[in-house]
């Protein structure tokens, strides 16, 4: 009898496992067409991204923060506000890959995220156009166009947080539009939302999607809302890894978040809050128009508008899309940094969905009137995608950008022993952090960011990172006072990386 008892236990266990797998399969498994589309997307996008991927540290495509992110991940440190804990953890995983340089391995994270984001966008678009003819074909074409849009591609081939943010945005879209019930759906939805907040604060704009009902009737709404809110809270707990890292005194530890107030200041990006401005609004509105035409060219824009005016996507599904489109554009318009255009990526994603609606309708019209064959449609889409690739590639190709590596190597090779190296701009500061802290080159020198000297947390970081540095009183941490206190050490001031490269080129030409 114990034997039959254990058999029935085993059978019920097997049934449970099957149920779990089938519920998981419901979430994952695509049809054969979908599988073909997804595999072909991975191959096409992966090949093109691979050819344009930065081989090392890069400043291409606005990627100056790469040195900070790579170094923070490699030294178990804390990156610039808001700290990016999810990104740092994933970057550390990729840094374990046994191939290429540390920077190359971290760049790979962006490639993987951007490809996966395109695949999930394909699934989202299939769900939104569900039941319409050629919905998969149109979704495939528009997701490829999205993957090869200037903005997405530019972030896919460098170290930055925006490719991961694009993936998380696509995932939130998918979870918002996936209406069939599956186990742990609500808690997972919330968790993804919370983790997205752990990557970038602009995810706050996406959180309403997780509570939006894309169907007429959803049972158990209150309980589900509660579970999703709990999931979000659990996801945001990822920020707690930041104090755990900071207490180990890493060389890169922005805000040194070892207290609640410093953690709060870091997460809320207090030092950047003054950057919000309406000053550039008129010019940026025109820049936004240019940005969208740059992503999809005039024909793609016309196809998107054609779909938008047709109302083929139901209002219930379009309202969250409009919200994401408008909110992300507004954020980009008023955030006063030179690279705030990257915050438009979720709006680009939404416009891709509208383009898919247009492609679907146009293919439907053409095939019913002229009996257009499927291979001809695929060929037309592939030609459009090829045009997109060849017109975008010159502006995003990071594979030949060696400026950051040249600069970093030159400084490491040229500065005298025990030098104090003061840096001015982001490029020189983060590139030198990468070579000095992440690659552990030239441990004899001291790299000091002049502009960060104003912050007590940075003064403390210098004290524990360089115990031999004679530091001034906390009230007078300046380039001059550090130089005076360490007057026996040679010093370099790299106010601007371009100046330094000019000096080097002159020295090199003299030597030749």
């Amino acid at each position: 009898m114990p034997c039959s008892g254990s058999n029935s236990q085993r059978q019920s266990f097997i049934i449970k496992v099957r149920q779990r797998i089938s519920s998981l399969a419901l979430f994952i498994s695509p049809s054969h067409t979908a599988l073909f589309h997804e595999v072909s997307m991975v191959l096409i996008i992966g090949t093109v991204y691979g050819c344009t991927l930065a081989p090392g540290l890069t400043w291409a495509n606005g990627g100056t923060d790469g040195g900070d992110l790579i170094t923070a991940a490699a030294t178990h440190g804390v990156a610039h506000p808001s700290g990016y804990p999810l990104y740092l953890l994933l970057a550390e995983l990729f840094q374990w890959i046994p191939a290429g340089t540390l920077a190359f391995r971290t760049n790979l994270l962006s490639v993987v995220c951007a490809i996966t984001a395109s695949v999930f966008l394909y699934r989202v678009t299939c769900l939104i156009l569900d039941g319409k003819p050629y919905n998969r074909l149109a979704s495939w074409g528009s997701a490829l166009l999205f993957g090869f849009s200037h903005l997405v591609w530019s972030q896919a081939v460098i170290t930055e947080v925006y490719a991961l943010q694009t993936l998380l945005t696509a995932l939130i879209f998918y979870l918002a539009f996936f209406n069939r019930q599956w186990r742990y759906q609500d808690i997972v939805c919330g968790l993804v939302g919370g983790l997205a907040l752990g990557n970038h604060l602009t995810s706050l704009l996406l959180i309403p999607l997780l509570f939006w009902k894309t169907e007429e009737f959803v049972p158990g709404t209150k309980r589900r809302t509660f579970l999703r809110a709990i999931g979000i809270l659990i996801g945001t707990l990822i920020y707690l890894i930041l104090p755990l890292r900071a207490i180990q005194n890493p060389p890169v530890s922005w805000n040194n978040p070892t207290t609640l107030s410093s953690l709060f200041q870091l997460i809320t990006g207090q030092i950047y809050q003054g950057y919000f401005t309406l000053l550039y609004l008129p010019d940026r509105l025109r820049g936004l128009a240019g940005l969208f035409i740059d992503q999809f060219n005039a024909i793609g824009m016309a196809v998107g508008f054609f779909s938008l005016l047709g109302g083929r996507i139901s209002l219930r599904k379009n309202i969250p899309l409009f919200w994401v489109f408008l909110s992300s554009c507004c954020f980009a318009l008023v955030y006063g940094t030179f690279d705030s255009y990257v915050y438009v990526i979720p709006a680009v994603m939404v416009f891709s969905i509208w383009i898919a609606g247009g492609i679907q309708e146009i293919v439907d019209i053409l095939s019913s009137n002229r009996k257009l064959s499927q291979p001809a449609i695929y060929l037309a889409l592939l030609l459009a995608i090829a045009y997109q690739i060849f017109s975008t590639i010159p502006t995003v190709d990071a594979s030949k950008d060696a400026r950051a590596e040249t600069f970093g190597i030159a400084v490491m090779q040229s500065v005298p022993e025990n030098s104090l190296v003061f840096t001015g701009d982001d490029e020189s500061t983060f590139a030198l952090w990468y070579f000095h802290f992440a690659l552990k080159q030239r441990p004899d020198i001291t790299v000091i960011s002049a502009d960060l000297l104003q912050f007590p947390w940075y003064q403390r970081t210098l004290e524990y990172t360089y115990p031999d540095l004679i530091v001034p009183d906390s009230g007078s941490f300046t380039v001059e006072s550090i130089r005076r206190n360490n007057s026996t050490r040679p010093y370099y001031v790299i106010d601007n990386y371009r100046n330094y490269l000019n000096i080097l080129s002159k020295i090199n030409s003299k030597n030749q």
């Binding site: 550039y280 820049g287 016309a302 006063g336 030179f338 019209i365 003061f422 502009d451 007078s476």
Partner: protein, 164 residues
């Protein structure tokens, strides 16, 4: 809406966007990840104030609580006055030095010598409000890697590095 109407409206919208679009994203010259120092810095009279990789210090007979204020003024030729003939502003800004509760003996301003300044004559100037001209002040180049250009003035007011 009829398909043909939608198509015409869609093309019209794209034309409007194309006509109004510009290819640049308006932004300040230097707002990056490392926050630059404030345009307006206040400090005690005995302190050395950072201005990027340069510094400002004041020698003063300070009564208790004396302080100085350093304000960066962009586009000095428009906001203050044109440089003397043959001279140009080497930095994009001038500095306005003001003192509260103290009597200033001298102000000492140092900035790193950029490579493009090496072949030029570089002299700090003080804006003389009485005759509205930029007047040269004692300036020396000290140190190396890179050398620092340091000027010493004797009054509150506007200072700028000029070159020719």
């Amino acid at each position: 809406m009829k398909k043909s109407t939608r198509l015409i409206v869609a093309i019209f919208l794209v034309v409007i966007l194309s006509v109004t679009a510009i290819g640049v994203w308006a932004a300040p010259a230097r707002v990056g990840t490392v926050p630059v120092l404030s345009e307006n810095i206040s400090a005690g009279l005995s302190e050395v104030v950072n201005i990027g990789t340069g510094t400002v210090s004041v020698q003063a007979d300070a009564s208790s609580g004396g302080s100085m204020n350093i304000e960066k003024i962009a586009d000095p030729s428009t906001k203050i006055g044109l440089p003397p003939e043959g001279w140009v502003f080497l930095l994009d800004q001038a500095l306005k030095v003001t003192i509260s509760n103290g009597l200033m003996n001298s102000v000492h301003i140092c900035v790193p010598q950029a490579p493009d300044m090496v072949t030029k004559t570089t002299v700090f100037h003080y804006w003389n409000p009485e005759n509205s001209t930029w007047t040269p002040i004692p300036t020396e180049v000290t140190g190396e890697n890179p050398p620092m250009i340091c000027g010493t003035g004797s009054a509150e007011g506007h200072y700028a590095l000029l070159g020719k």
